[in-house]
Symmetry: C2
Subunit: 149 residues, 2 copies
């Protein structure tokens, strides 16, 4: 279970890579650390703006791209805006059809032997997405009053 890098470690990693450590980046390092919400760039931008008015969405995207390039962040494409995950551990996700909530799921990796159709394909990663209803939304039946989280 590879642990997520702390803001301090990211500062070191950035400087080691010849990248500068700006207040904007430090803020984002903090907002991401231990963040299990799988936020979008826009969401992070809103939270960051509260603490640092004037930070730009462009800079948020830039920093997220840098972090992803350094392997400190996972870029998750589920349709709609990309989600970013500071948990770079090998794990999977559940996505609620009703409220969009994304959560971590740990499952044994698909064993390549019992898989048909991978002939000659060299697998770098195998990611599972579980779609369905989260406990909150499943409980509420087809009640439309459940607001998007």
């Amino acid at each position: 279970m590879k642990s997520v890098k702390s803001p301090e470690e990211l500062v070191v990693a950035f400087r080691a890579a010849g990248l500068k450590v700006t207040p904007q980046r430090q803020l984002l390092f903090r907002l991401l650390h231990g963040n299990e919400m799988h936020p979008t760039a826009e969401t992070l931008y809103e939270v960051a703006s509260a603490e640092m008015p004037g930070i730009s969405l462009r800079t948020v995207y830039q920093t997220l791209t840098d972090l992803a390039a350094m392997g400190e962040l996972q870029h998750i494409q589920l349709g709609g805006a990309a989600r970013f995950d500071p948990n770079v551990d090998d794990h999977h996700h559940s996505v609620c059809d009703a409220c969009g909530d994304v959560r971590d799921v740990y499952a044994p990796n698909p064993d390549h032997v019992s898989v048909a159709g991978l002939d000659g394909f060299s697998v770098r990663a195998a990611r599972i997405v579980f779609s369905g209803k989260c406990p909150r939304c499943a409980g509420a039946a087809d009640d439309l009053s459940v607001s998007k989280q």
Copy 2:
């Protein structure tokens, strides 16, 4: 292994749903039948245009949306343009990092018992995406001469 509906069956299904059967739709039914390329709307539009000049991209999107709503088509989000899959069987995909090629993969469904983090989540579907290098691109090593398929 649920088989894919034929163009003729789709004609019946459309009329049954109160939808009209236009030449544009019939063309798309044919182009999709047995299609294992996981095409984008744009790709389908190009192929369709060759046979029916003047067909609009808007209509392609419209028809794909209708088919997906009827459950005759899978909408696959992998980042970038959505891909459409007339194979509505329960299956998975491999995606080549180098050329973008998408292929069907059949694997036993993740067994819910050995999965941690799904507490109370009611799973509708579990989809695996295998990322890596397809046989063609793996063979070519890091050779950049491999053109996008």
